[in-house]
């Protein structure tokens, strides 16, 4: 590159680099893992650079093709979008590093005919490009296309494990995702019918609280709630996340559900809120569904018999918390909005760490039944520690990112005098603590009789580093709480609307 070239556009790189990587990984299949990991690293780097740029106080904006809105499509990144992009890049990097190893071992050679491990890399890179495009897009129809990339790539990742249950879950996921995208698109069509624009920013100055816009909002939010697995539309999630390959589960639970929830928050606070469409009743309804998700998801997590299902149901509950921002904050970003942003970030790191640990448990013990878990020598101490750290953040104990998020939610709830939401947050926290401690106590119950198995020859330095990935991810979830002022400051960049 010569000096004459302009500074790299980090935002655009986070979209185009993974798409190009996917194309390359598809063509040069035998190098797919190297290409895939290199592209993921590049994307993670770009997203961090973008975050630093935005944190400096300058929201990102570009009119693609040089066509100003409403004719063209605009890309935008405020603090929230930049944080979500960095979260996607970093969690993705961790999972990809782990996948360098597990994508070979996860699928026994005898089964490689049923599902092809090579496909992980192009699917993951397409998912990554789709997610990043979604966070950056400021155009209602463009968002529809990004939603489709994300859901179809996620369906592919769900089926990757090659288990019969995974095929069934992926099929259901595909039909549900297809319907959800079309519901969203119906809303876009209705808004275009009434106002003749697709750009969100332009629409914000045109929308009025009238029947066409209200119906559009209803179907868009219904489609996105279905995609986010919001209770009682969560039925498709636990089997999909519980039967996918571990790397895929980590990506689906940590990243994919965030995309549609992010879109709900984006539309609520940027489009429906400022235009008076988002009513208190609508917020209350979505909040109640969120409360249902928190209680039902946490309860199912307490009752789950398999570790992976417990983790999957915990995602149902976590999605519920994110919807509490709507009734708590009303239509203007406030404490609850900051709280759910923190929760979403912390959950991505903690949940990916936990799913990757599930794989280690499955590999070492040959099962993931919670009742039969023990602190066996087969299970590395680091895995037990990682599970504990991730659990701390998921429950919402200090000093984790999950704690800061819940604390802000509680503060918003107490200040507003919302007894109902306070009670729900408390009850959910108790339930998820119960669920997580059910797993953790298994490790505290030491079993000295357990014979130490002959260890495999010590793995190389790269392998050792890869083993540390889940721990690093869980550590970030904790760290987020310790340095919470920084992400909370970044959130304010461009949050004026």
């Amino acid at each position: 590159m010569s000096d004459a070239l302009p500074a790299p556009d980090w935002a655009v790189l986070t979209v185009l680099l993974p798409l190009l990587g996917a194309a390359l990984a598809f063509v040069a299949e035998r190098q797919a893992d190297r290409i895939g990991f290199a592209a993921t690293t590049g994307v993670a780097l770009s997203s961090v650079m973008l975050l630093l740029q935005v944190a400096g106080g300058a929201p990102y904006q570009q009119s693609i093709g040089g066509w100003a809105v409403p004719l063209g499509i605009a890309l935008k990144a405020d603090g929230l979008a930049a944080l979500m992009l960095a979260m996607t890049g970093l969690v993705g990097l961790g999972v990809a590093a782990q996948a360098l190893r597990t994508m070979a071992s996860e699928l026994p050679p005898a089964r490689q005919g049923t599902a092809a491990p090579w496909a992980f890399w192009p699917l993951w890179l397409l998912l990554l490009g789709g997610l990043n495009a979604l966070y950056l897009s400021a155009d209602q129809f463009n968002l529809y296309v990004t939603l489709e990339i994300v859901s179809l790539a996620a369906v592919g990742l769900t089926a990757l494990s090659g288990k019969p249950e995974a095929f069934t879950a992926a099929m259901r996921y595909l039909l549900v995702g297809f319907l959800a995208s079309l519901l969203y698109l119906l809303g876009v069509a209705l808004l275009y019918a009434r106002y003749g624009v697709l750009d969100i920013g332009t629409a914000q100055s045109l929308l009025r609280p009238e029947p066409v816009a209200q119906l559009a909002m209803t179907v868009m939010l219904a489609g996105l709630a279905l995609k986010s697995a919001l209770f009682p539309l969560h039925f498709w999630l636990p089997p999909a996340h519980g039967n996918a390959a571990a790397s895929a589960s980590a990506l689906l639970s940590a990243l994919v559900v965030k995309a549609s929830v992010y879109l709900v928050l984006r539309l609520w606070f940027d489009l429906f809120g400022p235009t008076g469409l988002a009513t208190e009743a609508a917020g209350l309804l979505l909040g109640l569904l969120g409360a249902g998700a928190i209680l039902w998801g946490s309860l199912q997590a307490v009752l789950a018999e398999r570790l992976k299902l417990l983790v999957a149901y915990s995602t149902v509950a976590q999605v519920g918390y994110l919807f509490l921002a709507l009734p708590l904050d009303g239509t203007e970003r406030g404490l609850a909005w900051q709280g759910v942003a923190m929760l979403a970030l912390a959950h991505a790191f903690a949940k990916s760490a936990m799913f990757l640990c599930c794989q280690i448990v499955q590999d070492r013990l040959g099962h993931d039944r919670i009742r039969a878990l023990t602190s066996s020598a087969k299970l590395p101490r680091s895995t037990q520690l990682t599970l504990a750290l991730a659990a701390i953040s998921l429950i919402g104990l200090p000093p984790s990112g999950g704690f800061v998020g819940k604390w802000l939610l509680l503060q918003a709830s107490l200040e507003g005098g919302f007894t109902l939401w306070t009670a729900v947050i408390m009850a959910g926290t108790l339930l998820s603590a119960t669920a997580m401690f059910r797993v953790l106590v298994r490790f505290f119950a030491a079993q000295p009789d357990d014979p130490v198995e002959a260890e495999a020859p010590p793995p190389g330095i790269t392998a050792r580093l890869i083993d540390l990935v889940p721990f690093a991810l869980a550590a970030v979830a904790i760290l987020l709480g310790l340095v919470a002022t920084w992400p909370l400051m970044v959130l304010q960049v461009g949050a004026g609307g």
Binding site: F167, L174, A189, A193
Partner: protein, 97 residues
């Protein structure tokens, strides 16, 4: 009633009819077809929006959106059929989905 409104209503009917069948059908092939027809209903609404009478040129934006939508739909359908075959090949039943 204008022609555009009439066709938009036809699209709405198509959308709703397909929604019913998508929910109640258990046969995978039928569900895949239902979701395709649901999409077509939405496309009819969009193209009807583009129609501005016999004298004015139609609005090209909905047409472009529908073209994109048709390609996305055929991609999803291709993937759905490959997946449905695996569901059946691995002993799954349509009813389980």
């Amino acid at each position: 009633m204008t022609a555009a409104l009439w066709h938009a209503l036809v699209g709405a009917g198509l959308f709703s009819l397909s929604l019913y069948h998508l929910i109640v059908a258990q046969d995978l092939l039928r569900r895949i077809i239902a979701v395709n027809l649901l999409g077509t209903g939405l496309f009819v609404i969009l193209v009807a929006l583009g129609y501005r009478g016999p004298d004015a040129p139609p609005d090209p934006v909905p047409h472009a959106l529908v073209l994109t939508g048709i390609v996305v739909a055929v991609s999803a359908t291709g993937l759905a059929l490959a997946l449905a075959r695996r569901v059946h090949a691995s002993g799954g039943r349509s009813e389980d989905v």
